[in-house]
């Protein structure tokens, strides 16, 4: 490992964003985002389309460069040259959503898994040996290296993608909806594999999902994003149990109930409106927010840490359970 990387004490931040903003043309995809992935923990990023979660992943992988703000790995700011980025890139493995898209159908499994090693200058024979080892680690011990992705199901392909992500033995694993395109019975197998690998390979994990239930199940910390901004972030159980930002609450209430006698989605839906590319001045959730007041339309609410240690960007957050109980 490179000697220039500073040691971080256990529990310290491995990957951090500071005031990161990313514009694409005239559209802001990520705005003023602070993020800390703590060593040995899983950070869940939750958001819907347009929330900026995928752009955040691409920024963390240095596939995009921030318009402003800094991203650092173990305290070391991402360098601006490609060559020097390669030290950081090898510390971050990534798994994408769709294992049908992310694996090249014309490449053999052995080549797919050893490709990152080859790119980082590992000799062919060594790379092949490593490929066998990581394939075993993801539960594919006897797979012939000359097979093609076509002979694997969705779950098998995602195991191969995970093996590729781990081939350089990274410290961080970044997963962008890795189970969203899998069947429920296979989803659990992949989640369990990730939970095991996190421990056995001492990984710190970023797990992006639109599924708050899944995030609650596997993440220590959660970051809820809406239209490019972080609206609520903190301990995953706490946020799930009593959301404070109206958007987090709305997301949770949109999850279907678990039994025909506990239906949640009865009642009239709000009318569907066409969203114009409105210039926003205030809170981006204001147009949809049931708690909106005048201040929300003129000023962006800052993230403020509340008594539960959760940071919420809202002028009129939902009450804490204690305050609500006291009524």
């Amino acid at each position: 490992m490179s000697g220039s990387i500073e040691a971080v004490e256990p529990g310290g931040s491995i990957l951090s964003f500071r005031s990161v903003t990313k514009w694409f043309g005239r559209r802001v995809a990520v705005e003023d985002v602070d993020l800390d992935l703590l060593e040995g923990r899983t950070l869940g990023i939750v958001g819907e389309s347009g929330s900026g979660k995928t752009t955040s992943v691409r920024l963390a992988l240095a596939l995009e460069r921030p318009t402003s703000g800094t991203i650092a790995f173990r305290g070391r700011v991402y360098p601006r040259t490609r060559r020097r980025l390669s030290d950081i890139r090898r510390q971050i493995g990534f798994v994408f959503q769709d294992p049908y898209d992310s694996l090249d159908a014309r490449m053999m499994i052995g080549d797919i898994v050893s490709q990152p090693l080859r790119i980082h200058g590992v000799r062919r024979a060594d790379a092949k040996r490593r490929a066998k080892q990581v394939l075993e680690a993801v539960g594919l011990p006897d797979v012939p290296l000359d097979n093609y992705p076509a002979s694997f199901s969705g779950g098998g392909r995602q195991r191969i993608a995970i093996a590729r992500a781990l081939s350089l033995d990274p410290e961080v694993l970044l997963c962008d909806e890795p189970t969203a395109s899998l069947d429920v019975s296979v989803q659990a197998q992949i989640v369990n594999l990730l939970l095991e690998l996190k421990v056995s390979r001492r990984l710190s994990v970023i797990f992006v999902s639109h599924d708050l239930d899944l995030i609650r199940r596997i993440a220590d910390d959660v970051m809820v994003m809406y239209q490019g901004r972080v609206v609520e972030t903190g301990d995953a159980d706490t946020v799930h149990a009593h959301p404070r930002h109206p958007y987090t609450a709305a997301l949770l209430s949109a999850v279907p109930g678990g039994h025909p006698r506990q239906r949640k989605l009865a009642g009239q839906p709000p009318p569907a409106t066409v969203h114009e590319g409105e210039d926003r001045i205030g809170c981006s959730f204001a147009p949809r927010c049931p708690r909106v007041q005048e201040a929300c339309r003129s000023t962006v609410p800052p993230l403020i840490t509340n008594e539960e240690g959760v940071r919420v960007a809202c002028f009129f957050p939902l009450e804490s359970p204690e305050v609500a109980d006291a009524r």
Binding site: D183, S185, Q187, A188, L195, D213, A254, P256, P269, A272
Partner: protein, 325 residues
């Protein structure tokens, strides 16, 4: 015999591959039936078969009656009197289903021209009304837009408006919310729940999501490897799943919702069988913890008790009410 949809011993084959193997299902007026299963179980083939929308290489046998009319033997001309009129179809991928070069008012308007003999002007006004009925704010504005100008949720509403335009007694919806965000999905589910009460339309809803089934369905049919392995009312199925595969799907859902953070998730080992090879015995037996010799040898026939139809040699029967333990 007033079922809106009656599926009897339906098989769908693509060459040697049997995607649907002897499916039976009835949907009564005003009912929402959910057909749940995972990738490759045959649920989409069965859904497409109910509107005769299968690709040309597919062969259907059996009987699919909509409002008492068997559509399996129908010619292309006869089908024109069924599609849109007796059955409306909503797909997962609205972008692919809508014509990209026609504004919304023309797409929906054409249905009124073709089937109701309206002139273009009247047809487009009816199209605006159809959009209003699915609670689109500013239906006149949306009617002028092209599909690519609409958000995913809005496109799905337009598809639903089209499917409902000619007031068919049956809507078949193939994973209509799968590609949508959570909050947009919630809006569509609310909309469908409201519409079915207003219009009394029967719905066959195809999904892989037990949460959606819980939210919407009156009756549930669980598909595995081309077969409907369990079928009953939503409450029966959720309260006391009899087939081990149904039980596994429900355990997965409950574990996701209630399981401990960081703890192992409940998982079914293995993969579903591929349907291009012959299956001996019960198709679920390699993954089943209840499997015995009979399961390896003999494919279980569906049996009905208390209105629940289940194909399993070892079904878990509900504990009678009042019994303890």
């Amino acid at each position: 015999m007033s079922a809106v949809l009656s599926i009897e011993d339906v098989w769908v084959r693509y060459g040697d591959l049997a995607a649907v193997r002897s499916a039976n299902l009835e949907v009564q007026p005003g009912q929402v039936a959910a057909l749940i299963g995972e990738t490759g179980c045959g649920k989409s083939s069965l859904a497409l078969a109910t509107a005769r929308l299968l690709p040309a290489n597919a062969r259907i046998t059996g009987r699919i009656a909509i409002d008492g009319q068997d559509i399996v033997p129908m010619s292309r001309e006869e089908l024109q009197t069924v599609r849109g009129i007796k059955v409306g179809f909503v797909t997962q991928d609205a972008m692919a289903a809508l014509n990209p070069v026609l504004p919304v008012r023309r797409q929906i308007g054409e249905m009124f021209e073709a089937h109701r003999g309206r002139n273009r002007h009247d047809a487009e006004e009816l199209a605006v009304e159809a959009l209003r009925s699915v609670q689109i704010h500013d239906p006149e504005g949306v009617a002028r837009l092209y599909p690519h100008q609409l958000s995913g949720g809005m496109r799905q509403r337009v598809m639903i408006a089209m499917a409902l335009a000619l007031s068919p007694p049956l809507i078949v919806a193939d994973e209509p919310t799968t590609a949508l965000d959570v909050s947009t999905q919630a809006e569509i589910l609310r909309l469908v729940a409201a519409l079915r009460h207003e219009l009394g339309t029967s719905i066959l809803w195809i999904t892989h999501d037990m949460g959606v089934v819980a939210e919407l369905a009156d009756i549930v049919a669980v598909m595995y490897a081309g077969r409907i392995v369990e079928q009953g009312t939503a409450e029966q199925v959720f309260d006391a799943p009899r087939h081990p595969y149904t039980e596994a799907l429900l355990r997965t859902l409950r574990d996701l919702r209630g399981g401990e953070r960081g703890g192992h998730m409940y998982q079914v080992p293995g993969q579903p069988p591929s349907l291009d090879s012959a299956i001996t015995g019960c198709p679920f037996h390699p993954r089943c913890e209840r499997a015995s010799q009979v399961c390896t040898d003999i494919d279980p026939r569906p049996e009905v008790s208390d209105g629940v139809r289940v194909a399993c040699h070892h079904p878990k029967l509900p504990v009678p009410e009042g019994a303890s333990g």
